[in-house]
């Protein structure tokens, strides 16, 4: 069985190549949707089974897969090596499991699309890249995956590239990610510099990195890795690409922009946590940035009318929660939230896809994603509606669904991080407030979509999606319900907290995490009060919002607008981040390009090139006169040359 593990990485690549090349070569293959869909799903399903086998038979020893040496230069030796340890296996289960479900769903969702084969080729390529990212044993293989998922994200956001807006969204995502990738590269150089001066052979493997003391550059490495993570995992200041990324097909939003790729920054920080442990300043930066991101995105989500935009900002906000956990040193909790979030957010996105699918078939609706033209959909789409409700309750933190446990653990980590009133207590309050906003906007979007009066102006009624789309919804909803029980709170008994105590603590040793647990243990009464408070707030908010929206319908939005007053405009305008970047960065760059660089281009760059070519032509004009075309002249010159040479040979 162990010898089959390389297939986890190779099969998705094989699938991408076969489907992509097959579709390019043969029009018959291109039309065979059943074959393409089944093949693509199998190429993720088999790796999922292998990961599951490794997961359930895992004996505590890290499994290494060494394929071949990739590059060797001086004291640097990078191998194509993968590792299966507790963290990789958990991430692998999420990526291949959720990935498989979304492949299955896409068979129904993408039915009849022109680029059907292309879509599945990209999706398989994404799984390959993501597997590289989470299973890679060294930074370089990880980086291969890191760039690979960025590329696939770009390809899939711009999947319907004939629409200029979608193509621009793809470019925006790519450019924003490049900024983070650049920080990642510099971090890698610093790590190599640190390791190279200490050890003889450098393989940049994670085990090497986390056991090395980088001294003064620890702070910079941690900060740069975090900047890289803000790009991929959509935090301030680089999060602006994620809401626009919703231009891609909805399964893509579910897989890449909610469940897997955007969590890679959290994975990376958890993987390299000793470096962050050693730089508390960076942890403080992380927690502040994360809290700002979470609360700003939550406010923005309240004022959006596009169902996918709401979910996108909700994702940004939830990623903020994960980073808050990282900032408190509770890496295991962050990974726990990654897992539960993957379940309910993938389910929400797939549910919204199902809704969009239904709305698209009703041709009188202008924008199939606008919740103002929906309403009352649960009657027509019972499976989608029910699973959407379950996931909404889960993300809102209703006890005992998965979101409650992970979110509560994050909040508890923030509260018990230090003693007395400090920065982390402020962050805790912000987090609590954001959790309330989350419950509000998620209930709002669900109520406006699935409940209340029907606002679509159509005789033709929307219909439920086919079973191939609803089955993944039900599986994910079920996971969203039970997922939380993998990480029951520690105060109920350490052995019940499987994800931390039973599993991840073997790879993630965090001083902060221990301190948090000790503080919590010492103040059990406070802990009970906090849990009860957060459970109560969630339930009350959901209950209140439900009643508010069922009583007022769409008019409730007006009341919300009045309640927020002038601030609502800012929320609706997404806090003007795009406009800010347009004015401060993009605008000046364009001005520079049009005025200064264009001049340099014409007179300096072109000038040098043209000067060289003109010079050569002029010299040629002079010397071409030697070619008189008279044979006798040539012979005369040859003879003179021979005489000259002989003279030198004989008399010289």
């Amino acid at each position: 069985m162990t010898s089959l593990y390389p297939l986890i990485i190779l099969l998705p690549l094989l699938g991408a190549m076969v489907i992509g090349l097959g579709g390019l070569m043969s029009p018959a293959f291109r039309k065979n949707e059943g074959l393409i869909g089944a093949l693509a799903t199998a190429m993720v399903g088999i790796p999922f089974l292998l990961v599951a086998y490794a997961f359930f038979t895992f004996g505590g020893e890290k499994i290494s897969i060494e394929l071949f040496t990739w590059m060797q230069a001086g004291n640097l030796e990078i191998g194509f090596n993968y590792q299966l340890d507790e963290l990789s296996l958990l991430m692998g289960m999420i990526v291949t499991g959720v990935g498989m479900l979304i492949h299955l769903y896409s068979i129904g969702y993408m039915h009849g699309d022109q680029g059907y084969y292309k879509f599945f080729a990209y999706l398989n390529l994404f799984i390959f890249a993501m597997n590289n990212l989470i299973l890679g044993d060294n930074l370089v293989v990880m980086f291969l995956g890191w760039e690979g998922v960025g590329l696939c994200s770009y390809l899939l956001i711009g999947f319907w590239y004939s629409d200029m807006l979608k193509a621009e969204a793809a470019q925006k995502a790519f450019v924003a990610n490049r900024i983070g990738d650049f920080a990642m590269l510099i971090a890698m150089f610093l790590i190599y510099q640190g390791l190279g001066s200490a050890t003889e052979m450098v393989s940049l493997s994670f085990s090497e990195i986390i056991h090395h003391d980088f001294g003064d550059s620890t702070f910079w490495i941690a900060l740069l890795v975090f900047i890289a993570a803000t790009g991929k995992s959509a935090q301030i200041p680089l999060f602006v690409w994620l809401p626009d990324a919703m231009a891609g097909p909805t399964p893509v939003s579910a897989l890449i922009h909610a469940a897997t790729m955007v969590t890679s920054g959290i994975y990376l920080i958890a993987r390299m946590h000793p470096i962050f442990e050693a730089s508390p300043e960076v942890l403080a930066i992380i927690v502040v940035v994360a809290a700002l991101t979470a609360v700003i995105a939550a406010f923005t989500a309240i004022a959006q009318h596009d169902i996918k935009k709401v979910l996108a900002y909700s994702t940004v906000s939830q990623l903020g929660f994960m980073f808050m956990a990282l900032g408190a040193g509770a890496y295991i909790t962050a990974i726990f939230h990654v897992m539960t979030h993957a379940f309910f957010k993938a389910c929400l996105f797939l549910g919204s896809g199902s809704v969009i699918h239904a709305m698209e078939h009703m041709h009188t609706v202008d924008d199939p994603q606008d919740i103002r033209t929906m309403g009352g959909l649960r009657k027509y789409m019972p499976s989608t509606g029910t699973t959407f409700w379950i996931s909404t309750l889960a993300i809102s933190g209703i006890i005992p669904l998965s979101g409650f446990f992970s979110k509560d653990e994050i909040l508890a980590s923030l509260f018990f991080f230090g003693e007395g009133f400090d920065l982390y207590k402020v962050i805790y309050i912000v987090g609590m407030f954001t959790a309330m906003l989350t419950a509000f906007y998620m209930t709002r979007v669900t109520m406006l979509t699935f409940e209340g009066e029907e606002r679509f102006p159509d005789e033709k009624k929307p219909h439920e999606s086919p079973a191939i789309m609803t089955i993944p919804l039900w599986v994910l909803a079920a996971l969203a319900v039970v997922g939380g029980f993998l990480g029951l709170p520690v105060f109920l008994g350490e052995e019940l907290n499987w994800i931390g105590h039973g599993w991840l603590e073997h790879v993630i040793h965090s001083e902060h995490h221990h301190a948090i647990h000790e503080h919590a243990h010492a103040n059990e009464t406070i802990e009970y009060i906090l849990v009860a408070a957060s459970a109560l707030i969630a339930i009350l908010t959901v209950f209140f919002t439900r009643n508010f929206y069922s009583k007022n319908g769409l008019a409730a939005d007006e009341k919300v607008k009045n309640f927020f007053g002038g601030f609502y405009k800012t929320m609706e305008g997404k806090f003007y981040f795009d406009e800010f970047y347009q004015r401060t960065i993009i605008g000046p760059f364009k001005w520079l390009g049009e005025n200064v660089i264009a001049w340099c281009e014409e007179y300096i760059v072109d000038g040098v090139v043209k000067g060289i070519s003109d010079g050569v032509a002029n010299i040629g004009d002079v010397f071409k006169r030697l070619q008189s075309g008279l044979v006798s002249n040539y012979i005369l010159i040859i003879s003179l040359g021979v005489i000259l040479m002989l003279t030198f040979l004989i008399f010289g």
Binding site: K624, R625, Q627, S628, G629, L630, V631, S632, I635, L636, S639
Partner: protein, 114 residues
């Protein structure tokens, strides 16, 4: 008449004169066939000098050399063979040129001029 007795210098003098005539002819004449003949003249001059040197440096009666100077003579035959083949090619070029342009003045064949 001591100086009329042929020796190596006499032969070489003839070769030099022939070569010089040929070279001057190639450089000054414009008729393609004459130029070609001049080239042949130069070639023969070289042949003559080769055979002269061969005879001059041959060591008579040396061990294992039955016919001193025979190597040079053999080489000259090779040169003549190659020259004959070259003459065929050269003349056919001149004929082809004539057929195309009704003119074998090489100064008019200046298509390689800038």
């Amino acid at each position: 008449m001591e100086f009329l007795t042929p020796n190596a210098y006499t032969y070489l003098s003839v070769a030099i004169v022939m070569f010089a005539l040929g070279a001057i002819g190639v450089m000054t004449r414009r008729n393609g066939i004459i130029v070609f003949m001049c080239i042949e003249l130069m070639l023969n001059a070289v042949n003559l000098s080769l055979i002269t040197f061969s005879k001059m440096h041959a060591v008579a009666g040396a061990e294992g050399v039955p016919h001193p100077g025979a190597n040079g003579s053999m080489l000259v035959f090779f040169v003549m063979c190659v020259a004959a083949a070259e003459a065929v090619v050269g003349l056919s070029i001149i004929i082809a040129l004539f057929r195309n342009r009704l003119d074998i003045d090489i100064n008019n064949v200046n298509i390689f001029k800038w």
